[in-house]
Every structure is written in structure tokens, then in C-alpha cells.
Symmetry: C2
Subunit: 340 residues, 2 copies
């Protein structure tokens, strides 16, 4: 085992009772600085009253040890020799950090997507440490989810700049394509249709006559891809998608039953009606299983055309469920959004 | 305009009345030899009684003029200077061929996916020439369909072997990835889950510990991709996916109303319950529009977990609808499958 660095950010202070800590787990391309990418969550857990913690995932490119870090054994970049990090590995590392910060109990652990995987893993692995756990649009990946992650990594590996993750110039084309594939799975077909339909690209392309003439949706995907490469690293993308893949209770605890019977926290699972990557029916089925094994679990579904991305793009729809679950009142709770 | 070659295959003979011709239009990677890739259709339209015709699409790599053909103006391979071929272009070329063969009326034109696009285009463009038209899992592509085609072409263009389509060794990695992306859209998430779930790849990979260790679904997709490159050409793949993209009645006829009011044929549209690329609801909505504009159109939906591929993989489910529509009786019509 080698030493790792965890980059973290905290908002507010731990109170004397040490019972006001909230861990917010980030999704694939997020960072420890949760107020930057999920500002609404810091309104729900106001740092005046809460000690809110964000921790950058192992494997990420935002400060924690990742594949572009130096391997102390070789003095060179890890690249593709960076170990596969499981969700459990990351959560165990987070636990060491929280111990160091003096956190004895998490009042709440919350996250969406791979953030939700971490939240659930916390509830299973450290049952005494978690009071409430909310996981949004998160289950172990289905075969289709595993398929799409595989193809995204393949796009990166096929880029001649990949070089086993030991590049000077990152594999931009591969990462662009990977992000574009992912975007198709993060959004819904209905949203794409509403926004782009069969329109020609807004910059004046001619998709009916030119081989590389694009429809508007293609221009959008290219834009998503090329924006992403400015802020994210390909080797981290490979590493974190692998981390997502590994989330599997049976694998760690022998069976879902053995895993779920450990849980003492109250659990809220939220599904998104149009989520294609983590279908609502799978989130609902996971809730049913949790209940079967005695967990105090509840399910809420939000109606959104934003697909998987709804936990960020339609956050206001989440507020009633989160407010009810965390017994919290807020002026964020507007009349538009209905409790589940 | 340049001369083109159309590769075609016929089964049976044109009768004296010249009223027994059936055109079977192939899907993306099919060929004129329809009995090879859709043998059941030649059982429905028995060559004893029918003159069945298959024509290789312009742009394909199975005999018709495509991007790997020699451009007579330059004496070199077309490559990416091969013109964008619309569905209408292909259908017009097919019409010239059928005139040459002495076919005055198509008793039936039938196809699935891009084959269904051609069938519908026939019914609109040559209303006097088509008696019955059956299009399975086909509508103009939605924004998501356009998105996925774009990403597949991008995968090919990004391969350093692409070389503007003027390669000596085809861009195998890009075409493999393109086919793997397509396979995710041809099948359904439920089918992937039933068949592969979260199993490790059957050849002994370790997806939980090795960066390139694969789950079974990943092994399946890689296999689909690497088999495909042995039988298909990357430049043709680029060309034909563009052809799919161009299928759009408004674009050609000014409006759907103007297009559909031309139709004189009876139309059968078939949707597949689990089709993600051409959702059943879109096929149904197209039927409704056809009816609105006075077309004798009917809709049938088959329940299959095979997704878009069901028109090939679950052909037996189509038989009742086709038999009823084409007023045909067959021992293929088994008790398992119910008329729509």
C-alpha cells in the first residue's frame, strides 16, 4: 500500500457535539469544492450550522492522488500502472480523513451518480458513522452502463496520444469523443429532440450536402467534448469510470443481503424519470431490496427530461425530497416543486 | 452527375402481367443478396411466385458505387470526396434499375431501419409504382439518432488510418468503436442485462482489478466490432450513416403534408417495443400523421427485448403482421406469434 493525498474542502465548523458533519460526494468530473459545482447543496446544509466536507476522489485530477501523480516507487507518472480504485477504496480513504478531522458521525452523506455510490458505500461499510444517506440516480451499473464506460475508455485508449497514460499532451480527441458519448447517456432523447430536433448546426453547417456538415445536436456534442478537455484529464477519466464500474455489493460482502443488513442509516434513493444510465426502475428496485433486508429506505422519483444530469440541471426538483428527508425547511422549497 | 453502378440480385421471374415484383431494401450493412441476410423474407415472398429484387445501396461496399470506387474524373478513389447520397438519390437510382428490368409496379416494397426509409421514400416519390409498403423500425432520425451517427463517424475520422477515406489499410480501430457504439443502440438495455449483467468477461478478464480487464458486455461489444471490420468498409460506413441522416420529408417536399398526400400505396409501419434508436412511439406518431393526410396506413408493434435489431433477430414476431398486410398464408405463421 502506498501513501495517497486526498484533496478536500470544508465549509463551516464542526460543533462541540461533533454531530453536524455532512459529507457531499462528487460525481465523475466534480471536485472537493462542492460549493463551486453544486451550490444548492450548501444552501440546504448551511455552513452556519453544518460542517460540510467535500473530498476529491482518488484517481481524479483535482488534487487527490491520481494516475498523473508521481509513483514514489519509480519517480515517474503512474499512467496506466495506477491501481484500479474501487468505490470502497475511496470511501476507506475518506474515513481516515474524517477521523483526522475529528468527525465521529456523519449527520448526512449525500451524492449523485458516482457520488451516490460513495454515499451508499459509506452507509454499508461504516454503519455506525452515518445517520442519513441520500443517493441520487445511483445503483451498481447495469450492463448498458458498463458498456458505455467501456466504449468511452476505448475512445481514449485508441487515441495515439494516450501512450499508456504517460503523455505530455493529453489524448484530446479520445477524451472529446468519450465525453460526447457520455453526454448522450447523461441527457435524454426527449431533451435532445426538444432542443435540437433535426435542425442544422447553428453555425451554418450543411448536414444534407457536406460529409462533415453537422446537425445542431452534433455541434452541441462536439462543444461538450471540446469544453471538457480544457478542464479534465484523460487518465483520470479512465480511472474514475473504472471506479464506477467496480461498485458492487455482492463482490465485496458476498451478497446484497449481507451488505444491506449492515446498514443502520436512514436511506433516501432518488430516481429520475428520464435517466437512461441509471434507470429509475433500477433505483426503485434497489430501494425495494434495501427494505426487504430491513433498511429504513424510501424512494422518490423526480419527473425531469434532463436524464441522468437532472440531479444537477433540475436540482430544484430534488429539494422537496431532500428537505423532507433531512427535516429541513428552506426558502428554496418553492411551490413549483412537490414533495415525493 | 456521374455514372454509378448498382449491384443487384433477383430471385424468381417477372410474370407476364409484370405485377409480381417485390423490392426488399437492405439495412446499413446488408447487401443486394437478401436471401443471405434476411432469408425469412424470401419465404414470405416465395421466388416461385414473386420477382424479388435486392439492390445494394449507393455508398455501400458490396458492389454498388461507393467511396472506395474510382472517381472517373480523377482516376483515384473518391474517399471523402464521394458525394453525400440521400435516401432519395438512392431510390431514384433504384427506379432507373427497375425500369431497366421492366418492373412497372412494385407489389411490395419492404425494409427495416434504413431499408424502411427507402421503402417509405419509394411510396412518396413514386406513388404510382408502389402497391404496398412495409417499413419496420424506421422514421426520420431523431436528435439522439443523429447524435449517435455523428459519434460513430467521429470515431472513424479520429483514427489516424482514416486518411480522408483514401487508405490502404482501413481505420480498423475507428470502425470497431463505431460498430460497438451502434450495437449499444441496436440492442436494448434489458437484453444486455439479461445476457451479460455484471459478469466478468467469459475469457477470464479481471474487471475489478485490471485497468483493461473487461466485463462480459465489453467483451461482447469488442467482438461485435472486430467481427464487423472483416466484412465492412469504414468509408462506406461513413457514407451510409450520412444517408440515414438525410432522410427527411420536409426537406424534400416542403412539408410532411405535401409529402404524405402524394402516397397512394397501403402502408404498414412496425415499431419494436424496446427500440431505442427508432422508438416505437415515433413510429406510431408517424403512422398517425400519415393517416391524418389520408394515407391508408396501419401500425403494428412487436414486443421484443431485442431493440432495433428485432426486425432481424425476432423476425418470427413480424410474420403475423406482414402476412396479414400482404394477404399471405404461410407455415411460418406459427401459433406463438399473434397478429397485431
Amino acid at each position: 500500500m502506498k501513501e495517497v493525498v486526498l484533496h478536500y474542502a470544508t465549509y463551516g465548523k464542526l460543533n462541540q457535539k461533533r454531530d453536524n458533519a455532512v459529507l457531499v460526494c462528487h460525481a465523475l468530473s466534480g471536485s472537493a469544492r462542492i460549493a463551486d459545482w453544486w451550490p444548492e447543496i450548501v444552501k440546504i446544509f448551511d455552513p452556519k450550522d453544518h460542517f460540510v466536507i467535500g473530498i476529491n476522489l482518488l484517481g481524479s485530477c483535482y488534487g487527490s492522488t491520481g494516475p498523473r501523480s508521481i509513483d514514489p516507487d519509480t519517480g515517474s507518472i503512474y499512467g496506466d500502472s495506477f491501481p484500479v480504485v474501487t468505490i470502497l477504496d475511496s470511501v476507506r480513504a475518506q474515513k481516515i480523513l474524517l477521523d483526522h478531522l475529528g468527525v465521529e458521525l456523519l449527520q448526512a452523506v449525500v451524492g449523485g451518480s458516482i457520488g451516490g455510490m460513495q454515499a451508499l458505500q459509506w452507509a454499508v461499510e461504516y454503519p455506525e458513522k452515518v445517520s442519513k444517506c441520500a443517493a441520487i440516480a445511483a445503483t451498481p451499473l447495469s450492463a448498458m452502463g458498463l458498456a458505455l464506460n467501456h466504449l468511452q475508455r476505448l475512445a481514449i485508449f485508441q487515441d495515439s496520444d494516450w501512450n499508456g497514460g504517460r503523455y505530455s499532451q493529453q489524448p484530446e480527441q479520445g477524451l472529446t469523443l468519450a465525453r460526447a458519448i457520455a453526454t448522450c447517456s447523461y441527457k435524454s432523447a426527449d431533451l435532445f429532440q426538444q432542443r435540437h430536433a433535426r435542425l442544422s448546426n447553428r453555425n451554418g453547417d450543411s448536414p444534407y450536402t457536406a460529409l462533415k456538415g453537422r446537425f445542431d445536436i452534433a455541434g452541441y456534442l462536439d462543444y461538450q467534448g471540446s469544453s471538457f478537455i480544457k478542464r479534465f484529464d484523460a487518465a483520470s477519466y479512465v480511472s474514475i469510470t473504472k471506479t464506477m464500474d467496480t461498485f458492487d455489493f455482492e463482490k465485496i460482502y458476498g451478497s446484497e443481503k449481507e451488505a444491506f443488513q449492515r446498514i443502520k442509516a436512514e436511506i433516501l434513493l432518488v430516481g429520475v424519470s428520464s435517466d437512461w444510465l441509471f434507470p429509475a426502475k433500477d433505483v426503485k428496485a434497489l430501494t425495494t431490496k434495501l427494505k426487504e433486508y430491513g433498511v429504513d429506505a424510501r424512494y422518490c422519483e423526480i419527473e425531469s427530461s434532463h436524464g441522468h444530469d437532472a440531479f444537477l440541471a433540475d436540482f430544484h426538483l430534488l429539494i422537496p425530497a431532500l428537505a423532507e428527508f433531512f427535516e429541513y425547511k428552506s426558502n428554496l422549497l418553492c411551490s413549483q416543486s412537490m414533495p415525493c
